[in-house]
């Protein structure tokens, strides 16, 4: 029970930090799930995050994996509710208020001001992930390759990521 409450508290808190995308909260996700509560190891977290990129729908549904690993199906359910419900209710409320906020001069300021912070948080998340994931020449090459391919073409991101995995398997077998 205590564990489910910890899960709810941690993921409810993390969800509030996902400004600009799930990656913005990644450093805090690592801090809480790996360093504080020891629910997963850092490699496990990276693996779930990467698998999550291959799953359909919102890209942070991988939080369900952590909940399931810690406390089975109830864990997954509690984590999902904690992750989606608080920000969901907030969005619902603001969505209804939005037309009134139209005349509030600070609305544009909030949007313009939070933009750069969101970009910075996503970049910081990428750096934290890179520290764990890019450990040798192969992984650096794969990351640069996927980056270049996605910048230069309109290919579905799932394709080069699965291809990276296959390269990893082939090189392991050789």
């Amino acid at each position: 029970m205590k564990q489910l409450l910890d899960l709810a508290g941690a993921f409810g808190y993390i969800s509030l930090l996902t400004v600009g995308g799930g990656m913005a909260a990644f450093p805090e996700l690592k801090h809480l799930t790996v360093d504080t509560y020891h629910w997963v190891t850092f490699p496990e977290l990276m693996h779930y995050y990467s698998l999550g990129q291959l799953a359909p729908g919102p890209n942070m549904m991988m939080v369900a994996s952590i909940g399931a690993q810690v406390a089975g199906l109830p864990g997954a359910a509690v984590v999902l509710m904690a992750f989606i419900l608080p920000t969901g209710l907030f969005t619902f409320g603001i969505g209804r208020l939005w037309n009134h906020l139209d005349k509030w001069p600070w609305r544009a300021s909030v949007q313009r001001g939070l933009g750069p912070v969101a970009v910075g948080l996503v970049a910081a998340g990428a750096i934290v992930l890179a520290r764990g994931a890019l450990t040798n020449t192969l992984t650096i090459t794969l990351a640069v390759g996927v980056f270049a391919l996605l910048m230069l073409t309109k290919i579905n991101p799932a394709i080069p990521i699965v291809a990276s995995g296959l390269v990893g398997i082939v090189l392991y077998l050789i």
Binding site: V19, G57, P116, F147
Partner: protein, 205 residues
């Protein structure tokens, strides 16, 4: 001939039943592979089902992006609410999240069974490297949309240093740098000339 990008203004479809709404979001949630769910949502909601016009979609997207929470989930809540009130918001978010969440729950059990197998480890390590490339692209694209002036880049740099190198909590960085950045972009009276006075000239600054 006329430009192919011009979308003819088709009349909107009537709001769907709650079941049709759930099914629509569930299908979008199950087929939006490889991230970029917003593009799938636009194709589904605006082009395919014709539940929203493009103008409304862009407006809802602006709200989604400036609030905490996942973009795709926020969009589903806002669009569901516009279509069928709060039950629509609930079922829209549920339909969007259910396929991915079920798969990732199943993945946890699968990794628990086969995670120590060296082949799956080689696979998972390699896709993590690929994911770094993807996340960097997402950051660059977000930056292209959000950064306008040198001060914006300074805020980005400060946030990165605080979170990634000084290990300051994301919450403190968000609130601290966010407050300074919002204040920097605070409303200025001169920025809002009286719209009724076309002769109004901004003083050169």
């Amino acid at each position: 001939m006329s430009k192919p990008v011009a979308v003819p203004a088709l009349p909107l479809a009537p709001p769907p039943s709650l079941w049709r709404l759930f099914l629509g979001f569930f299908i979008m949630g199950a087929t939006s592979l490889g991230g970029g769910v917003i593009a799938y949502l636009r194709t589904g909601l605006v082009t395919h089902y014709r539940w929203l016009d493009d103008e409304t979609f862009v407006e809802l997207m602006a709200i989604s992006q400036s609030l905490p929470g996942l973009n795709a989930t926020n969009m589903s809540i806002l669009a569901g609410d516009r279509l069928r009130g709060w039950p629509g918001a609930l079922l829209g978010a549920l339909g969007m999240c259910l396929p991915g969440a079920s798969l990732m729950t199943a993945a946890a059990f699968a990794v628990g069974v086969g995670g120590d197998d060296p082949l799956s480890k080689a696979f998972l390590h390699a896709i993590a490297a690929g994911a770094v490339g993807l996340v960097t692209v997402v950051g660059v694209q977000l930056g292209a949309k959000m950064l306008y002036e040198i001060a914006d880049y300074v805020f980005v740099a400060i946030t990165i240093v605080l979170v990634a190198f000084l290990h300051v909590s994301v919450l403190y960085a968000l609130v601290g740098v966010g407050a300074v950045a919002i204040w920097w972009h605070r409303p200025r009276k001169t920025g809002l000339p009286d719209a009724k006075d076309p002769e109004h000239k901004e003083p050169a600054s």
